[in-house]
């Protein structure tokens, strides 16, 4: 699994940080998404959850 984030689309809702805090953070300046890491085995569900609840469709999961 591979995650791609689109900072231009991101509105800084923070849903990804709640879903997968090890994978996502928010930029201190404008709140947009920062991808901290690609998912390790066992983190796929959290990554999928983050993509599912992102309000701006800024997270893409590539299997």
């Amino acid at each position: 699994m591979h995650i791609k984030v689109d900072v231009e689309r991101c509105v800084g809702g923070g849903q990804c940080v709640l879903s997968a805090p090890r994978l996502f953070d928010q930029d201190d300046d404008d709140g947009t998404v920062i991808l901290l890491a690609q998912p390790e085995p066992g983190e796929e569900d959290d990554a999928r959850q983050a993509a599912r609840v992102c309000p701006a469709a800024a997270i893409e999961i590539i299997d």
């Binding site: 509105v11 809702g13 201190d28 709140g31 701006a56």
Partner: protein, 395 residues
């Protein structure tokens, strides 16, 4: 034969369940024409996926949706009053990104000690009142107001004045002239506060926004005034109503309350389920179709009004099994109680912080908290938000 077009909003038979008519439409004709109170028409969208599509897709606009809004917003639109909630990208993006840094998960977590102190003091004062007392007016509003006043930098002594004006604006059948005057009053009030903070900055959001955005010319003064006005009213009635209504749900589901009391790790998921189950936004949100498109078999024309209501999405059985059941053990995290798309609630982490903090201590501090009247007699309000108007309790 002419079939009478249903009038929006549909009446609710039971305060916390979606209108039966909406549930019927979801099963029979999931995107349907409805008549608005002023005679105009719009589409009501009833399925979770379709509602997410309307709120999340660039085919639908937030500009000029006032025609489909209750009177306060209409009065505002007629005055040409705009905040970033009625803009599309890229204008919206420009505004929102200036504010988001103050509402990230990390920044909001820093507020936790202050919010916990506000809550502890509010519960102490509440517990000392003669019984029964109204939990909404005496506990929920003080918590929500103090938190917002602290965050934004508004004097708490002014709270009754601006809460009254915020309420005038949110009543469904508000008098447009009165709603417009309430808006003008609030804008003038905010403008004065901004003026003060330009001269004497404090550690609050008004000061930060004034110096980060207004001084370097990233926002004009009317733009900043409209933005702060929105922040001031957006986090008040919403969180207060949610605290009161959630308390009602806990008191009418004592077994689930006992489970959370016994195992506090269940609380964050339970808060998401409360947000889903209560779904306060029961009339809005509204969008306008930008392009000709098809939705659930209906031909949507450019300019059509679309009612994409989060409460309808959150009670769709395709997205949540037995949706009308309150169940803290379900995974409710994909609810859209805070909306969906680029306009999803900016302050949602503040709301989560307040709700988790309140229900982390309320029933420990007041273990005998109970309704002072039968549950059926609890009054639900006539506003943009569904929720308890007052909640008489003993403890």
């Amino acid at each position: 034969m002419r079939i009478e077009m249903p009038v929006w909003p549909f009446p609710r038979e039971r305060p916390l369940d979606p209108p039966d008519r909406l549930t019927d439409l979801r099963a029979t004709c999931p995107v349907s024409k409805v008549r608005m109170y002023d005679g105009g028409q719009a589409w009501v969208v009833t399925r979770y996926d379709d509602i997410r599509t309307v709120l999340g897709s660039d085919d639908y606009s937030s500009v000029n949706t006032w025609k489909y809004q209750p009177s306060a917003s209409r009065a505002e639109a007629e005055r040409g009053e705009h905040s970033f909630t009625t803009m599309d990208p890229p204008d919206h993006t420009h505004f929102r990104k200036m504010l988001t840094r103050h509402f990230t998960v990390k920044r909001v977590a820093e507020l936790r000690p202050v919010v916990q102190t506000i809550i502890a003091e509010a519960i102490d004062r509440f517990g000392a009142l003669p019984q029964p007392a109204d939990l909404v007016a005496e506990l929920a509003y003080p918590i929500a107001s103090r938190t917002m006043c602290h965050l934004i930098g508004v004097p708490y002594e002014d709270r009754e004045w601006f809460e009254e004006r915020a309420e005038i604006r949110s009543v469904i059948d508000a008098d447009p002239a009165e709603a417009a005057q309430a808006t003008i009053d609030l804008l003038e009030y905010v403008d004065r506060l901004i003026g003060q903070r330009l001269d004497e900055p404090q550690d609050d959001l008004i000061s930060k926004l004034a110096h980060e955005l207004l001084v370097p010319g990233r926002l004009t003064r009317p733009e900043l005034v409209a933005t702060v006005r929105l922040l001031l009213t957006a986090g008040h009635e919403t969180t207060a109503t949610m605290i009161g209504t959630a308390t009602f749900v806990w008191l009418t589901h004592p077994e689930q309350l006992a489970q959370v009391q016994a195992d506090r790790t269940l609380l964050p998921a339970a808060i998401e389920e409360l947000l889903r189950y209560i779904s306060m936004l029961h009339i809005t949100v509204v969008r306008r179709a930008k392009n000709a498109t098809e939705l659930a078999g209906q031909q949507i024309s450019p300019g059509d009004g679309m009612i994409a209501n989060p409460a309808a999405a959150n009670k769709d059985p395709a997205a949540f099994e037995n949706p009308d059941l309150f169940d803290i053990h379900r995974d409710a995290r994909h609810h859209i109680a805070f909306g969906f798309g680029v306009h999803q609630c900016l302050g949602q982490q503040v709301a989560r912080l307040e709700l988790n903090s309140v229900f982390g201590v309320l029933f420990d501090r007041l273990p005998n908290l109970r309704l002072a009247i039968p549950a059926e007699q609890v009054e639900f309000g006539n506003s943009n938000l569904i929720g308890v108007q007052s909640l008489p309790v003993c403890w």
